[in-house]
Symmetry: C2
Subunit: 344 residues, 2 copies
DNA sequence: GTGAAAGCGCTAACAA
DNA sequence: TTGTTAGCGCTTTCAC
């Protein structure tokens, strides 16, 4: 029986002793970091097997002064937008040899703060931030501690960081194009609280897009929620009901997101309207849910998964020491399903 | 200017030197691990601020031989069941001072393997496994490396680990009770591939529940998908279509999960049936989606979030050295919405 | 109340 | 091709 030291863990030293080589030789064997004689290799291989040795990742990373993990700031993974984005992040990170630590903040200042603290203390090599932190001052904390960081689904509000966003204006434009082509010219906009720039841009793009096409905008067709609540579907439901209160009704509705669209559709269906016969509805995001709904939702697709992937790629470049960086503006695309129809 | 060593990082040594105390004193100050004189404390406090010192988490954890993080094995966070469960895990872990590393495997053997490898190498202090690993042999690997582990949504197939599951039989029974009370006695079961015990139990519970109530079971009312695909909604859709092919039709349908229920409802609605007027549908899980759908889905709620929380609690006990452990069997509950109705 | 010193498990520079 | 040695940044005895 080989004798181990205090802890139950088998270390490289144990292997070295048993194989009658130095610790560094074992290290070289494991990392292929120097040529070794065939016999040495064989002996080490055997001892490793015999002792059931496993390298200690934390020690290795500590020594190398890295963690091989990335932090992912998302507000809520039960929001499918973030879930899909997270999957892109997780997959790409894995592919490149990094782990992902989930910083799920629930839109909560205190949680944000405590996660940022972990980042400051070097828990990860870099972070992907996928929503605008509630606590503004934390951006400075992150900047000051010099952690590599990339913004995903956040427009670059500073030149400090690379960013990945989809072209939200173009997305709305695709929606308007499509509805216009179907003969609609009475079009409403239902918007969740525009507390981030992406949402502001969508709303603005709607207004300018309507004007550019010479379409009339009625005040009561622009229904935007003001109080920030959590549940987007409920917001959509309430906006939908509000829209129905005043005539004339529009013939088509652009929603600021799929969740809002789905809430609104519930309101319309509850009121006995048929979709798309009586009212066309178009969403934004193309979360998985969109195709599940009945009628399935026509929408503007955001490449969420890809946004996550690109975010990680940008981040790794930063981590690897590149100093220049890019801003990616990804393309939206229209996904035709069954919630829109030619005007009769 | 204080002089730093090679790396840009400010360490405890730097603080110690600047404050004219020993490194251990700084450590004591930070960890409140011994009484210090007021002046010393004050001096250290100042230097820390001046040098903008932050303790190095990885070094600390390395020294303490722990990582303060947990691994979470889930197949797919874009499946809302797992997303909600993950939130429970993440929140409870955070509350108890642990980080969560996401091992999202996409039901992929190779990914499972590489995540298990990280676990073996000591990346985390314990793991929550929330679905049956595809690669059976990995269970042994995990067992042999002695990592604290808890099973969530997996029935204890071995006495090695604590577990957290909901009472699936009782869940199905609640569903049958409810439908029976509404006057239904022609009830069908639509099931996704029963590749895990939870699903097998639901199916069995359906059959015995029907028998116990003296209800006739027709073969073509038990429609179960055989090939394992990824998308549960599509499975539901195809099962729904199959069900409609043979008469007599049932008056109510129990689905093995909400996603299957939603797919089936799409099939029914597409075929021109009305829900719940022509056919009642009840789901299982109560994912967020269930209330979004129109008509909103009556279903059996699984306490997913709570399952995650309890899983972490059990895990932490194991990590803290407790040797006895429990198996939790949580209660389902019926959530009445609009997809079921009294038989006419 | 405080300091000196050992060492967590590993990598890498320097020798040989 | 291989061994020796010095740490990575911290906690924790053991002294005084």
């Amino acid at each position: 029986m080989e004798k181990r030291k205090r802890s139950g863990r088998v270390t490289m030293r144990d292997v070295a002793r048993e194989a009658r080589v130095s610790q560094s030789t074992v290290s070289r064997f494991l990392n292929h970091t120097a040529p070794l004689s065939a016999e040495t290799k064989e002996r080490i291989r055997e001892v490793i097997k015999k002792l059931n040795y496993r390298p200690h990742l934390v020690a290795r990373n500590f020594k190398k002064q890295r963690t091989a993990s990335l932090g992912l700031f998302v507000p809520d993974i039960t929001n499918l937008f973030y879930a899909e984005l997270s999957r892109g992040v997780a997959d790409m990170a894995q592919k490149r040899g990094y782990s992902v630590i989930l910083y799920a903040t629930s839109y909560n200042r205190d949680l944000e703060r405590s996660f940022v603290r972990l980042v400051e203390q070097g828990q990860v090599d870099g972070v992907v931030v996928a929503y605008s932190l509630i606590e503004d001052s934390l951006w400075n904390v992150l900047f000051e501690c010099g952690i590599p960081l990339v913004l995903v689904d956040i427009y670059p509000f500073t030149e400090r960081y690379p960013s990945v966003v989809m072209d939200n204006e173009k997305g709305i434009d695709l929606a308007l194009d499509y509805l216009h082509r179907l003969g609609h010219n009475k079009i409403a906009y239902l918007g969740e609280p525009p507390y981030v720039l992406t949402l502001v841009k969508r709303q603005r793009a709607f207004l300018t897009g309507m004007q550019r096409r010479g379409l009339t905008i009625r005040d009561h067709w622009i229904v935007v929620e003001e109080k920030t609540q959590l549940n987007r579907v409920e917001i959509g439901f309430s906006l939908g009901k509000r829209l129905l209160k005043k005539s004339p009704l529009p013939t088509a509705v652009v929603a600021s997101s799929d969740l809002v669209a789905i809430g609104a559709m519930k309101a319309f269906l509850n009121a006995g309207m048929r979709i798309p016969e009586d009212l066309s509805v178009i969403g934004f995001d193309d979360i998985l849910l969109a195709s599940y709904f009945h009628p399935s939702l026509t929408t503007i697709r955001q490449p969420k998964y890809h946004m996550g992937e690109v975010g990680v790629e940008f981040l790794l470049r930063l981590i690897e020491g590149e100093t220049t960086f890019q801003h990616a503006l990804l393309e939206p695309c229209l996904v035709e399903r069954n919630s829109c129809q030619h005007i009769l």
